[in-house]
Symmetry: none
Subunit: 202 residues, 2 copies
DNA sequence: TAATTTTTATGACATTTGTCATATTGAAAA
DNA sequence: TTTTCAATATGACAAATGTCATAAAAATTA
């Protein structure tokens, strides 16, 4: 019997998954949480075989919890369950030696499969990730370009950006223009969007 | 036997829910989709008793699909399933005469309950919504203004906004100008920021 | 060291934005 | 039933934005 702890902050997915896992003869959900703090508390108590952790949770992220589990040297295997294939997240997960990493895009059966898989000592990563890793979208923007874009994101008009960065008006427009061409767009809003999607901008 | 169609773009939730619903003796999932277009195609063919629709889906939103169902006068009852309690969404849903509206925060059993409920002809709305409605920090923007701002937030330039909303170029600029004066700002980015902070815009 | 990239700047130009005045229609509120 | 507000439109104009060519010092990389 494999014992499982499920931490997922979206109620519907949380309860749907836990009911579903519970239906499997060899799986047993020993607890669930919708925030990272409770999750870590209970996992350290219960020491389940597997912890399924969402990344974006209140208080502590799933990656934080995974770190704790790792440093506390619990035998609990961690499976990260997240929405997007983000390079940065994935790297942190590897650091924390998680046993599995899969996306919410996948069907729920993949989760069941992943659980059994990690119990055999193997690791499983969503294939989308590998693709995403190879075509690593490293930031094409320079420091200053990023500074300009950040200011633009705050809604500042060109002039304000210029004075705040001690640049000339035209230089700021040039930077923006260069940013646009690098990102293949034609205005600030789109540029900011792309930069945010790629986590180059918070 | 209640026939159900499920449209939810997040694969994990989609498959988890459909498996879960299928377990109930009186429920049968006749189809699922992860985008609005397929959803509407299939729903119009299959005419299920209940359609469970996520709002944020590619191509057509759940609200668009609900509109279609409503105007095509299908007998299909619609249950909207969404992440946040947004007044605007809710209002549009009411317009489209949806039978139920619930949040992904709720446990999955609420969904099962809601399905049975709407089949008796009753409507069910998540209680959080009512609270959210009352304490609604009232939005000074009109429907169209919001539509324009939403498009602007996507990075579309004036012309595109105009064609996508079937408006003239100047009208769009007028709306934006009026938005700015209502919100006390002078450009799109700032306007979007404020609207987001106040949850008038997602 | 040589080649390349980054940071910074101008000027000129076309286009896009934002502002304002003004006007019509229809719907909602007083 | 006035009066107001929402939705829509024009035209005109000023200001901001985006594009391009060109340039040069400083820093980085090969």
């Amino acid at each position: 019997m494999i014992t499982i702890y499920l931490a997922e902050d979206q109620g519907m997915l949380n309860s749907a998954l836990s009911q579903l896992l519970e239906l499997e003869d060899d799986l047993h959900v020993v607890g669930t949480a919708t925030d990272g703090n409770t999750a870590w508390q209970e996992i350290s108590q219960l020491a389940p075989d597997v912890a399924i952790l969402d990344i974006e949770m209140p208080q502590l992220t799933g990656l934080d919890v995974a770190d704790h589990i790792h440093t506390a040297q619990l035998a609990t295997k961690v499976v990260i369950l997240t929405t997007f294939a983000q390079k940065a997240y994935f790297e942190r997960a590897v650091q924390a030696q998680v046993a599995g990493y899969l996306l919410k895009d996948s069907p729920s059966n993949d989760l069941v499969a992943a659980i059994r898989q990690v119990m055999t000592g193997k690791t499983t990563y969503a294939p989308e990730l590998v693709v995403n890793m190879l075509s690593a979208d490293s930031n094409p923007l320079t420091k200053r370009e990023l500074a300009v874009l950040t200011a633009a994101d705050e809604g500042k008009p060109t002039k304000e950006i210029a004075t705040s960065l001690f640049l000339s008006d035209g230089t700021v427009r040039n930077y923006l223009s260069s940013i646009f061409s690098k990102l293949g767009v034609h205005n600030r809003i789109e540029a900011v969007q792309i930069a945010k999607k790629n986590k180059w901008l918070k």
